[in-house]
């Protein structure tokens, strides 16, 4: 696989928990080729995983035939990921460990918290009737 800047990649995932690992395995290789000395690769992998999990579970309601589309664009400035699902979006909820919510709500809250803390920028939006989460990471020097 030849990887050089600028670089773009697209993945289509079934909405099944565990499918995000297919993307992560490929993304880890790409990150290693683009920025082998980067200390942020794990941050990128975890944040993208959480965005995918949110899309599977809360956007596409774990209906396997509904796809999650992931677009990555890399330039000298950094990495930009957009994760699209078929849902209507969400109101961001930040969980704390003292909440007595159900396990499902806790997992959702942690995922958003993780994305926001690991990414340099985390935004939501809509595009052609699809909801997306956008994650940006600056590239290390």
């Amino acid at each position: 696989m030849i990887v050089c800047i600028p670089y773009e990649k697209h993945w289509t995932l079934d909405s099944v928990i565990g499918e995000e690992k297919v993307l992560l395995d490929e993304l880890a290789v790409i990150l290693m080729k683009l920025d082998p000395a980067s200390a942020r690769s794990n941050d990128i992998l975890s944040a993208v995983a959480e965005a995918c999990l949110n899309a599977f579970e809360h956007g596409n309601r774990l209906i396997p035939t509904l796809p999650v589309q992931v677009y990555m664009v890399v330039d000298d400035g950094g990495y930009c990921f957009r994760i699209f699902d078929e849902g209507s979006g969400f109101t961001p909820i930040l969980s704390s460990i003292d909440r007595t919510d159900t396990q499902q709500k806790e997992a959702r809250g942690w995922g958003l918290l993780i994305m926001r803390n690991l990414a340099d920028r985390c935004e939501c939006g809509r595009n052609d009737d699809h909801f997306y989460v956008e994650l940006q990471f600056r590239r290390s020097e």
Partner: protein
């Protein structure tokens, strides 16, 4: 692809050690929750040690599971320790407050030393 989660229990002295492997995600919930009686303190057992050294992947679903577990162990009166956690996942544990509910050490030996010290006080 997702690596199957597995866990087994080792008992030594007053300690129960949970050795885990694979991916700590949604599929780990049933095997881990059903592995051990987390809610009732076992006689002559003071501490639970979670061994993460063979865990390759943790996501928010796995973190939610760990939060449930540490709540149960706290209510039961156990002290919970953990080792084998990578710096990246240690960072995530700190982020969600999980590190306040389990004492994280570099390895099993250092935890055992700590438990021995606590018991001698």
């Amino acid at each position: 692809m997702e690596e199957t989660f597995a866990a087994n229990v080792r008992e030594t002295g007053q300690t129960v050690i949970i050795d885990m492997s694979g991916d700590l995600s949604k599929s780990a919930h049933e095997p881990l929750l059903g592995l051990f009686n987390w809610e009732t303190k076992k006689e002559d057992t003071c501490c639970i040690i979670l061994n993460f050294s063979q865990i390759n992947y943790i996501n928010s679903l796995g973190i939610a599971l760990l939060i449930r577990l540490t709540r149960k162990t706290e209510r039961a009166g156990y002290q919970t320790f953990a080792y084998g956690i990578s710096p990246h996942y240690h960072k995530l544990f700190l982020m969600v407050g999980l590190a306040e509910h389990m004492m994280i050490y570099p390895d099993e030996y250092s935890i055992m030393q700590r438990i021995e010290t606590l018991n001698s006080l």
